[in-house]
Amino acid sequence: MSYPILSKETVLDLVPFGNSGQEAEFLALRLSPPAWKEIAPGQFVMLRLSGNHGNHIWGRPFSICRVTPRDLVIFFQARGRVTKEMAKLRPGDVIDVWGPLGNSLRVEKDTPTLLLAGGIGIAPFVEYAHTHPAPWNLSMEFGHRLPLDCYPFDSLNEKIDAAPHRENTVEDRDRFIALMEKRMQEHAKAKGLVLACGPTPFLRTVQTFALKHKVRTQLALETRMGCGVGACLGCVVQVALKASLIPPADSPVCKGEEYHNLQTCTCGPNFWAHQVKL
């Protein structure tokens, strides 16, 4: 796997998404690119605002939304203490970045692959879609709460067949869940692959369908992290180790396995649905 480095990177710009009058909740942060040798889609970085912060001592994990020789793009939601500070960054500001971290989302060139994203969970799929060797085998269902222009949906839709589903009501949500199940069943039949990224309740739903329909499914977890490098053991998740790491196409669902506490930051953040306890 790739070898992470720690560097100081410069803010190139910060673009608010969506044109609501108020302060933007979703923003794309463009940084000078770290001197990475290689990265795989689904990996993440830790960002830390430089200086002393009484309020937040750790860095924060963010999916690599896009990386090019010119920039590293993070797409984030201003929701808490650090992300709200990040929303105030200005071009020229310098922040600490370490990465690329974690394992990658599975890439299988010729397998029909379904991407399921909930809200900010769209972030890693941008890099995934842009680097996939056969994007025509990808399709995406994207559930979102705010208007579509709040998310980097267009840059994804350029590359792959992606359908947005705005969730404003309970009915919207039920419809989206039903659709996800249908699409996962299709992929089960086609011996396809499912990749899901979004909030934990969303991942739980996907996991249920994955087990029910026996479709190989990877879940990108969002655990609270300290170090991001596997040392502090603050981000563990229970994983059934004896289940083969990459299940065969007929999707064995593990039962009665012994669970181990594995670090989400180094053994994940992408876990097979049949192995991980959410």
Binding site: L6, I57, G59, W98, G234, V236
Partner: protein
Amino acid sequence: MGKQRITLSGNGRTLVLNNPVLTASGTFGYGLEYTPFGNLASLGGIVAKGLSLLPRQGNPMPRIAETPSGMLNAVGLQNCGFDEFVKRKLPKLPHKDVPVIVNLYATSPAEFAELAGKLAATEGIAALEVNISCPNVKEGGSSFGQSATMAAKVTEAVVNASGTLPVLVKLSPNVTSITEIAKACEGAGATALSCINTVTGMGVDLQSKRPLLANVIGGLSGPAIKPIALRCVWEVTRAVSIPVIGIGGISTPEDVLEFILVGASAVQVGTANIALPDAAFRIAEALPHTMHKYGISSLDELRGGLKI
């Protein structure tokens, strides 16, 4: 400046460190996690994650939380156990170039002795560090470190079982008199004292009305506790004659020198490694320069030289 080798001698055993900046147990994994961020051999020493005889899965999640200028943890000593450590971790560490110190966790003096004996028979370990903040399972679960008698018993058990291996004892600040415990450990044969472990604390989330840690109570670390740690090191170094390793909130080379000024012989960097993965390397590297800046020509000269 150049050579900064530090010799810790006490009760007839000696540990030689590359320089005064070590890493603190539990904040630096098994050291291997940090190889991308610096050269392990540039550190004074590496203290591994608390090790028990058998693997332990630790506490349920959540296990860590941020607090003002600090953090709480209740990892619960998750670790890979002795066998796995010796088979898969230790061989990968550059133990010829940097002292590897194993932090011990057990629930009775006998278990401590057993683990210490096995470690003493293992190649590549420079010293043991006894975590006396473990619960004393036999005697009701309060920690060994909170009673001078029990602290001495555990120290003695490890010292007797470990041949000539230096034995550091890691003191808990959660006591009425840390000097009393320190003297008991010195009397029981400790080579040096590590000072301090985390301060007991807790946090809650108002939204969910739940504790921030599944274990409710956890250990506070980071810059917030630096004043407490400095005070403990100051008190302990004046009460014992074995060397003391200062720990608590160190995140700059200035912090290192502050601990040495109050009497420490070396230090461990903990939470700072979690905040930024090159912290210990950066601090060790910058130390000579920082000494120069403050006109400090040698650590021996600085040590305990607080003017009062």
